[in-house]
């Protein structure tokens, strides 16, 4: 479309201003993280203080929390994605009684806020001695991820080539073989997107790990950061460094695989 040179210039101004507004908080936190952590550090002549990162890592025990986060996230991703592939396969390619009802049951789970289920989850899993365990933190998130994952995989399997499935079936392939040898390899992009989204949601989750591990044995990175903010009040540099550390894994994944993130979050949002 053709527009005037003035409008084009205005567009660049709008783009730049908006991008700056979005980026400025990120620049602020990076600047704080590289700033002097106390009066003694500010007397040094160095303009930046990258030493804040290893120190925050040690003082805030982020190493430990990141390992916990990674353990929980891997558990949730592996279990939720595999189980969602199986369920989505049934809902997307097979005809059976109750298929529609089951689809709506899964869609319901996408909308249920965590706040509604977190109270009984805590008291009931406590009676099973699952609170303060990795499974106690992971299982509720597996359930929430299955709701979206099943819906997401069903959408993929419905779009998968019918003729390909029929041809394989005529060759005598069973439903398991069709799934693992044909549909899963072709569906790698859709599965990768689901893996990334599930990983991000689990890594960033706050309420479930906060409630399910009251004594802090299973403290994930975001909780570690909130806890660090409460404990460490002498300065802002180490806190800012901690914030960068906690955000970094997902941000790096996003920068490398941004198409998957953006497409996934947009397509996942557009329900039929």
């Amino acid at each position: 479309m053709t527009v005037s040179a003035f409008e084009r210039a205005m567009n660049y101004v709008v783009l730049t201003v908006f991008a700056l507004v979005v980026l400025s908080p990120i620049v602020v936190v990076l600047k704080l993280a590289l700033g002097p952590k106390d009066a003694a550090a500010s007397r040094q002549r160095t303009p930046i203080h990258p030493g804040n990162f290893p120190e925050a890592w040690k003082v805030g025990r982020f190493g430990e929390y990141m390992v916990t986060s990674l353990t929980v996230a891997v558990l949730v991703v592996v279990v939720a994605v595999s189980v969602s592939i199986l369920a989505g396969y049934a809902l997307g390619t097979m005809r059976f009684r109750g298929a529609n009802v089951l689809l709506y049951v899964f869609l319901l789970g996408i909308m249920v806020p965590t706040e509604a289920i977190v109270v009984p989850l805590y008291f009931d899993l406590r009676s099973f001695r699952l609170t303060n365990t990795v499974w106690g933190v992971a299982l509720p998130q597996i359930a929430m991820s299955i709701a979206f994952g099943t819906y997401w995989m069903r959408t993929y399997f419905r779009s998968a080539s019918r003729t390909l499935i029929d041809a394989a079936r005529l060759d005598g392939a069973g439903s398991m073989r069709i799934l693992w040898n044909i549909l899963v390899p072709i569906g790698r992009p859709a599965i990768l997107t689901l893996v990334l989204l599930t990983f991000m949601w689990t890594w960033n989750e706050f309420l479930i790990p906060l409630v399910m591990s009251p004594n802090g044995t299973v403290r994930t990175a975001p909780l570690g950061l909130a806890f660090f903010q409460g404990q460490y009040t002498q300065g802002t540099a180490l806190l800012a460094a901690g914030a960068v550390i906690v955000a970094l894994p997902v941000v790096v994944l996003y920068v490398v695989l941004q198409r998957h993130f953006i497409k996934g979050m947009l397509d996942g949002a557009v329900r039929e």
Binding site: I26, F96, P222, V246
Partner: protein, 299 residues
């Protein structure tokens, strides 16, 4: 099969054995049922009792729900949620519409990079966002520094310790998080509008404003519905942001329903009341989703 001749999607052949689909669904249903549906049912059950989390619970019918209407603090919390919806949803959709319309009118270079940047807040953990903005809003933080620099000293204040300004300050963080997502969503919708429509409108002498209301806005109705649904739900589910920035304070000026669920269940020891707030929140989410989609379908 009788309907094997029906064309289209419904032409799914029945599986060789009737139990096969259920076997594929079983693990998902077991985990999803056990850790989401059962807790949801248990929450309804809890919400009908008076229980402190330790001793005996007593059945009290709908008293916890009646209390939501009468409890000043809870009424306030739901009122604050409405304010947050304005900042999380209405502001981003308004801004996003203008931005997306501007950017799709002409081919702009660097749009891919721009998209990556404005979407970034969506992938950052809310706790990190909250910690960052707490620094920005701090009494000696960069925001007040900027205001003093440009001579607006009178506007400088402790943004998160002020009865009037804290709720909008928290809301603005939500606008910062949501606007990029909404803009990218609307841009995707607008890029699908046929260029012929705009050409025809221009031949009729329509200016950019009329073009926007006559063509662009009606064409992205679906995307607006999705954007509103997503951001309203995000506003209603705001827990970590409030927990980390203000803990509902100062006083009760920024408390929200999701924070009340946590406070009631785990700090005050009113488990039944907390469950009732959680269930009410769920019903509100369902109702708003239904209404927004209804309006989007019919208009």
């Amino acid at each position: 099969m009788a309907d094997a001749a029906t064309p289209g999607r419904e032409e799914l052949p029945p599986p060789a054995r009737a139990w096969v689909p259920y076997a594929y669904l079983a693990p998902a249903l077991l985990l999803y049922g056990g850790f989401l549906l059962v807790p949801l049912g248990r929450a309804v059950q809890f919400s009908l009792t008076d229980w402190d989390g330790l001793g005996e619970s007593t059945f009290i019918g709908f008293d916890n729900y009646v209390a939501i209407v009468h409890d000043e603090r809870l009424r306030e919390a739901f009122g604050h949620a409405v304010v947050l919806i304005f900042f999380f949803s209405i502001v981003p959709v308004g801004l996003g519409l203008v931005l997306a319309a501007l950017l799709t009118r002409s081919r702009v270079r660097g749009l891919g990079f721009f998209r990556t940047v404005i979407f970034l807040p969506q992938v950052i953990a809310m706790v990190v966002v909250a910690v960052t903005w707490r620094q920005i809003y701090a009494p000696k933080g960069p925001l007040n520094g900027l205001l003093r620099l440009v001579g607006l000293d009178s506007l400088a204040r402790p943004w998160l310790g002020d009865y009037t300004w804290t709720l909008p300050a928290v809301g603005l963080i939500g606008s910062w998080v949501s606007t990029g997502l909404v803009t990218v969503l609307l841009m995707a919708g607008m890029s699908r509008i046929s260029g012929d429509l705009f050409e025809a409108a221009r031949l009729d002498g329509a200016g950019p404003v009329r073009e926007f209301f006559a063509i662009t806005l009606p064409s992205v109705r679906g995307e607006i519905v999705v954007a509103l649904t997503l951001t309203i739900i995000a506003a209603l589910k705001t827990f970590d942001l409030v927990y980390v920035t203000t803990s509902g304070g100062p006083g009760t000026s920024t408390t929200v329903p999701s924070y009340e669920v946590y406070r009631r269940a785990f700090e005050v020891g009113d488990v039944g009341g907390a469950a009732a707030v959680g269930i009410t929140l769920t019903l509100v989410v369902f109702a708003i989703t239904a209404v927004v989609n209804r309006i989007g379908d019919t208009r």
